[in-house]
């Protein structure tokens, strides 16, 4: 069958095409996400740099202001002024004066040295401990040489970032070589300076990013922005020479990452669903087409079968009627026999046509039942008795065990069912010896009247026991090929019985071949009026 094969091929091609498109779209989605992320990364970098610059600028502004004061007011001024400056300025923790051979002092002469001044000297011992030069080798690279208007006075000054036992300090110093290389300087109150600088965090607000200032030990010194941000750091920027070893880290809010992930994943899901819908739609169409093809085939078969079944009795009728018409038959016995055959075949034709008509009506839902309470024993016996000649003719035997039971039936429909069942039994219920035995049993179960019609033939294999009731179904070919049949007998019978409120089913029985069971209600059901 090239039709279904072609369809399969087309279907396969469609699946492949849909899947490929979905795959390509997913790939591009992934690329878009990566692009968005990198764009976000760039934006965040710019913002983070701006924030870092802002903070560093604040620190350097403080440093410049203090240094300017030192240069302008104090480098040639009195010690009292310098120490008063320390006491007045919150940015300044200590001031010192260093002289070669004398070392550094952080206490106003005449005063008792305080605890913090002692600690200051301890902290900066490493810096002050060089004898003749103010740690020139250490600070030389940070010195800025600037020439003032007085050309012979060269100032050198600078800032040192000093670490001592994990403590971090800024030391500003200014040196006047002209004056015995005396150096004065300040130690900044680093926590205060940072406090002032870091409170300038407006840049980080209204953002989905968390900015973290990490100190040289790796611990978080300050954070600003969205505190619920996830732990995925996007980037890390060094803070520059004002805070060596410190970095600014920017990490994404988990929510944002989630949103973009959500977008991509939902897009993917939509794609997959779309693809599945397309494939499913194609499959549905395909199976629909298949079914229609099968239905069409079935109908064709049916027509062929019915035509064949119609033809066979018609041929007999025609032959025998012609013979009688020709007048060549003189034997009265033969004449009677020919007439019997004609009547029989006519009856057979009638049955077939009735079946086809019923089938049509049932298919269209136009079948009407005239239900009456009848004694099935009488009805069954009556019908089967009329069939006895035919049965004998077929070389079969019939056994009837009929209990007297009243059921609600439509007489014509019931007789049609019984005849269909009998037909099947006679056609297919032949045992291995070529004999056909039919048993009919009618019982009263209390609620229902049950009629069983069995034969001793090969029976119906279990796999087909349900499908034999499907219209046009004729079992497997090995059995049915030998006999004529329309394939609608059982389906009609089932529909008729069910229409009368009963059931028709196949029941495999030990020692029997095929066994069909009809159950009919004994009393009117409410729904059947």
């Amino acid at each position: 069958m090239t039709g279904p094969h072609k369809r399969m091929i087309y279907f396969g091609m469609l699946c492949i095409a849909a899947t490929t498109m979905a795959g390509v779209a997913t790939y591009w989605l992934g690329k878009e996400q990566a692009r968005l992320e990198s764009q976000l990364g760039r934006d965040t970098r710019i913002k983070a740099q701006a924030l870092a610059d802002r903070w560093v600028q604040a620190i350097e502004a403080t440093q410049t202001a203090i240094m300017t004061d030192l240069r302008v007011r104090f480098v040639n001024g009195s010690m009292e002024d310098l120490f008063a400056y320390r006491d007045a300025r919150p940015e300044i923790r200590n001031v010192f004066v260093w002289e070669p051979l004398k070392g550094a002092t952080a206490t106003l002469p005449g005063q008792q040295i305080s605890l913090d001044e002692t600690r200051f000297l301890q902290r900066f011992q490493g810096l002050f401990s060089t004898d003749s030069s103010f740690g020139r080798t250490r600070v030389a690279d940070q010195a800025q040489v600037s020439a003032t208007n007085a050309a012979f006075e060269v100032e050198t000054f600078g800032w040192v970032v000093w670490y001592w036992e994990d403590q971090f300090s800024w030391l500003g110093w200014i040196m006047q070589p002209g004056l015995d290389t005396r150096v004065i300087g300040v130690e900044l109150e680093s926590f205060y300076v940072l406090s002032v600088a870091l409170s300038r965090q407006e840049l980080a607000s209204k953002d989905q990013v968390l900015y973290r200032l990490i100190d040289q030990k790796g611990s978080v010194f300050h954070q600003t922005g969205m505190a619920q941000a996830g732990e995925t750091p996007l980037l890390e920027l060094p803070m520059g020479k004002a805070l060596p070893g410190w970095t600014l880290q920017a990490s994404m809010s988990g929510a944002v990452g989630l949103t973009s992930d959500l977008f991509v994943w939902s897009a993917r899901i939509v794609l997959i669903l779309l693809t599945l819908a397309v494939i499913f739609g194609a499959w549905v169409l395909q199976s629909q087409a298949n079914r229609e093809f099968r239905d069409a085939r079935q109908k064709t078969n049916f027509v062929a079968n019915v035509s064949h079944e119609l033809k066979t009795p018609l041929t007999s009728i025609c032959m025998y009627a012609e013979m009688l018409q020709s007048g060549r038959v003189e034997d009265e016995g033969k004449k009677k026999h020919y007439l019997d055959v004609i009547v029989q075949q006519t009856q057979r034709l009638t049955r077939l046509v009735n079946n086809v008509l019923s089938f049509g009506r049932l298919e269209q839902g136009r079948e009407r039942f005239h239900l009456r309470a009848l004694n099935l024993k009488d009805v069954t016996a009556g019908i089967l008795t009329t069939q006895l000649p035919r049965i004998k003719e077929a070389g079969a035997t019939l056994e009837m065990t009929l209990a007297s039971v009243v059921a609600i039936v439509d007489e014509d429909a019931f007789s049609q069912v019984l005849l269909n069942l009998l037909d099947n039994a006679l056609k297919y219920g032949v045992d291995a010896d070529g004999r056909c035995r039919v048993e009919v049993e009618l019982t009263d179960t209390g609620k229902m009247a049950v009629l069983r019609l069995s034969d001793f033939g090969p029976g119906v294999p279990p796999s087909l026991q349900k499908t034999i009731f499907d219209k046009f179904f004729r079992g497997d070919d090995s059995l049915t090929r030998k006999r004529d049949g329309s394939g609608i007998g059982l389906s009609i019978a089932k529909l008729l019985i069910e229409g009368m409120g009963g059931t028709l089913g196949y029941q495999a029985q030990q020692g029997y071949g095929a066994s069909f069971v009809v159950a009919l209600p004994k009393h009117f059901q409410k729904s059947e009026v």
Binding site: P90, Q112, V196, L198, S199, Q223, A227
Partner: protein
């Protein structure tokens, strides 16, 4: 009326000099100098303690009070969820409602990050403050340093005005984002104090770091509070705001000059400088009705039998908030000398001695708490026991019940230390008590049992004591009777 040039000159001089010579005025600061003994030994080396006490009159009406600039820095970390934050909000609202039209306020919240909830502005500019405070919710960690920084930044916006600048910090937990060492926060506190910003700290619950909170407040001598139940937060905020609105003088600087035969060698329980023959001690602010004192140890060697010499000359410079004026007070201490040791002993001034002992005790407590933090609980207990011994000795000699009580207190704490029963709450109570005693703020320890804040001044409690032979400040007596003298401590929970 004879308006000749002499009287005009006199009037002009009085007007010009009047503000500078406030000595006997009822509405000005009062200073008094005392020695721990009535007489000094002639020509013998001895160590004595000079007490300089400064007392501020009650500030009278609200119309006369200077404007205030406050920032409420509120902890909105996850642990504040529920009733704690609800009470904090109530407290904040109550505090703001007490402000006047010329006052300035701001609110900063901090959890994992700090943000400004209400920027610095007047009541008119921040008319929607109630809804903004209602919006606060609790989540995240505790970036205390960031909170204080942002609060200070808000205060700075109005720093150029002559107002009382106060940062009120609320915290219920350990700082876990950013600097968390008491020393580091202490440095910030020192700098803020130089700027003119006083920091008051309110710790609620069992989990905050009382060392950190007291260090923050210490330099500006701001109040520090331990609130066990958040239900008491509104009354604490009221109390703090009451003080802010009641500042009498700021930038009080005490300078005491000594002659060359009396060398100042140390200050008890306070920060200050000793240069040659003078001691300079800054007292940050003094509230209306409050008395603060300074204890200076001096080595005296000099004087002749029967002579009376001037031992110390004190000059107090202070500024009244709300204007640019600064004022000066002066006082001096004259002491007779004798060769009779017995006379010297008999003349001991038990009040000054009490203050001296109590102040030495606060230093011992500081040391003990430091040792305890280092894990050296035994050494800490020993420190307290030794201090208790000293207190008991002096108590016996002077029949001073207060010192006895203190000694018992110290013994009890020592026992707690020895048996590892000094829990977080007791430690907080001890630390807060100690801080207040050193700065002579009133004590604010609010525990579960009380419905109201209990306020008591440990140095002014009523009890029977021998009256020393010196004139007492009549104001002090009045204050003693009006303050509730309940000495109940919540140590035994």
């Amino acid at each position: 009326m004879n308006w000749n040039w002499k009287s005009i000159l006199l009037v002009v001089m009085m007007t010009l000099l009047g503000p500078g010579l406030q000595g006997a005025d009822e509405t000005s600061l009062k200073v008094s100098l005392e020695l721990d003994r009535g007489k000094l030994l002639a020509e013998e080396s001895q160590k004595a303690v000079v007490r300089v006490s400064i007392k501020a009159p009650q500030v009278i009406t609200s119309s006369q009070r200077p404007p205030v600039n406050i920032c409420l820095v509120l902890d909105t970390s996850g642990s504040m969820q529920g009733s704690k934050l609800a009470y904090a909000k109530e407290g904040a609202l109550d505090a703001i409602r007490r402000l006047g039209l010329s006052d300035c306020f701001s609110v900063v919240e901090y959890n994992g990050t700090a943000s400004t909830q209400i920027p610095s502005g007047s009541l008119a500019e921040n008319a929607n403050f109630a809804s903004r405070i209602e919006m606060l919710n609790a989540r995240g960690s505790t970036a205390l340093f960031a909170g204080v920084s942002l609060g200070a930044a808000e205060l700075r916006k109005a720093l150029n005005t002559h107002a009382i600048h106060r940062l009120i910090l609320l915290s219920d937990g350990q700082a876990n984002v950013g600097p968390d060492q008491p020393e580091d926060l202490g440095r910030l506190g020192i700098a803020l104090s130089k700027e003119g910003i006083a920091v008051a700290t309110v710790g609620v619950g069992d989990d905050y770091n009382e060392d950190l909170m007291t260090r923050l407040s210490q330099s500006s001598e701001g109040n520090t509070y331990f609130v066990e139940n958040s239900r008491d937060l509104p009354s604490i905020f009221q109390r703090e705001l009451g003080d802010v609105l009641n500042v009498y003088a700021q930038e009080v600087l005490v300078q005491v000059d000594f002659p060359e035969w009396a060398k100042p060698v140390g200050l008890l329980g306070r920060e200050g400088r000793i240069e040659a023959q003078s001691a300079k001690i800054p007292l940050k602010q003094i509230y209306g009705g409050q008395e603060k004192f300074v204890l200076i140890e001096v080595n005296v060697k000099g004087g002749k039998d029967g002579e009376t010499l001037c031992l110390a000359q004190a000059k107090i410079d202070y500024a009244l908030p709300g204007n640019n004026q600064s004022f000066s007070l002066a006082s001096q201490l004259d002491v007779p000398f004798t060769v009779q040791k017995a006379e010297v002993l008999a003349s001991s001034n038990s009040e000054v001695i009490r203050d001296r002992e109590l102040m030495s005790n606060t230093m011992a407590v500081d040391k003990a708490l430091y040792l305890e933090k280092e894990g050296k609980t035994e050494a800490a207990a020993i420190e307290l026991r030794q201090s208790a011994e000293r207190l008991k000795k002096v108590a016996k000699v002077n029949k001073d019940e207060m010192l006895e009580k203190k000694a018992e207190e110290m013994d009890a704490y020592a026992a707690d230390l020895e048996s590892n029963r000094l829990d977080t709450k007791k430690r907080k109570v001890l630390k807060t008590d100690n801080y207040q005693a050193q700065t002579q703020q009133s004590v604010f320890v609010v525990s579960d049992k009380k419905d109201e804040v209990e306020s008591w001044d440990p140095l002014k409690v009523e009890f029977t004591k021998p009256k020393p032979d010196k004139e007492k400040d009549p104001e002090a007596d009045k204050k003693e009777k009006t303050k509730k003298p309940k000495v109940k401590k919540e140590k035994d929970q």
